[in-house]
């Protein structure tokens, strides 16, 4: 069974703080993704990575960066959190030749 875990279920941060969201998968998947999920907007891709140290921008990368130093771990970084980054953040992974993505439980981030 594929397991994707995220470091926190709920997180509250102040405006201007640096925020780290961690995601770990245990199935040796090549691809990893970060989305934000907002009511009425669906899931929007922030960044994805198809290999260690490789990353590509998604549809809404502004205000975010990522890091993938190890295959199993993909971190999302908010350099200076803002209130409009309050959202549910979902991590996902997939194998190199599959389009099926496996999702983590999500981190609900509130920026005050």
């Amino acid at each position: 069974d594929v397991k994707v875990t995220q470091s926190s279920r709920y997180l509250v941060k102040r405006t201007g703080e640096k925020v780290f969201l961690e995601c770990v998968q245990d199935m040796d998947h090549e691809n990893m993704f970060w989305y934000r999920q907002d009511p009425g907007l669906g899931l929007r891709l922030i960044y994805f990575s198809y290999d260690v140290k490789m990353k590509e921008k998604g549809d809404i990368p502004e205000g975010y960066s990522v890091s993938r130093e190890k295959k199993e771990r993909f971190s999302l970084i908010l350099e200076s959190a803002s209130t409009n980054q309050t959202s549910m953040y979902l991590c996902a992974s997939s194998t190199g030749n599959s389009y099926e993505q496996y999702f983590g439980p999500g981190t609900r981030l509130t920026v005050t």
Partner: protein, 110 residues
């Protein structure tokens, strides 16, 4: 650019009634389409994909290239079908990233 549209944010039907969740897409090439589902307090998971042509939990979806649609259907809704449903597409040849629709929250009334 690829785009997925789910015109209904909310859909409410009675138990035993047929249900159809609409999905339209725009892409000039050959996409692969999916339905993902998120039940209350559970993580998002794949429900079905058009290439496999399977029925999962009584749901089916047919790709209509002429109408660029991939509607999800079930003839008799059950209360456990209440969930958030997302339609998604990806290119058959290309990066494995998905483009999701806005989602439809389905509520099955007893």
């Amino acid at each position: 650019a690829q785009r997925v549209t789910q015109p209904e944010k909310l859909l409410s039907v009675f138990k035993g009634a047929p249900v159809e969740l609409k999905c339209n897409y725009s892409y000039s090439g050959s996409p692969e389409l999916f339905w993902y589902v998120q039940y209350s307090r559970q993580r998002l998971q794949l429900l079905l994909r058009h290439i496999s042509r399977e029925s999962i939990k009584g749901f089916t979806a047919d790709l209509n290239k002429g109408e660029t649609s991939f509607h999800l259907k079930k003839p008799f809704a059950q209360e456990e079908d209440s969930a958030m449903y997302y339609c998604a597409l990806t290119l058959i040849q290309g990066a494995q990233k998905l483009v999701f629709g806005q989602g439809t929250r389905l509520t099955i009334n007893p």
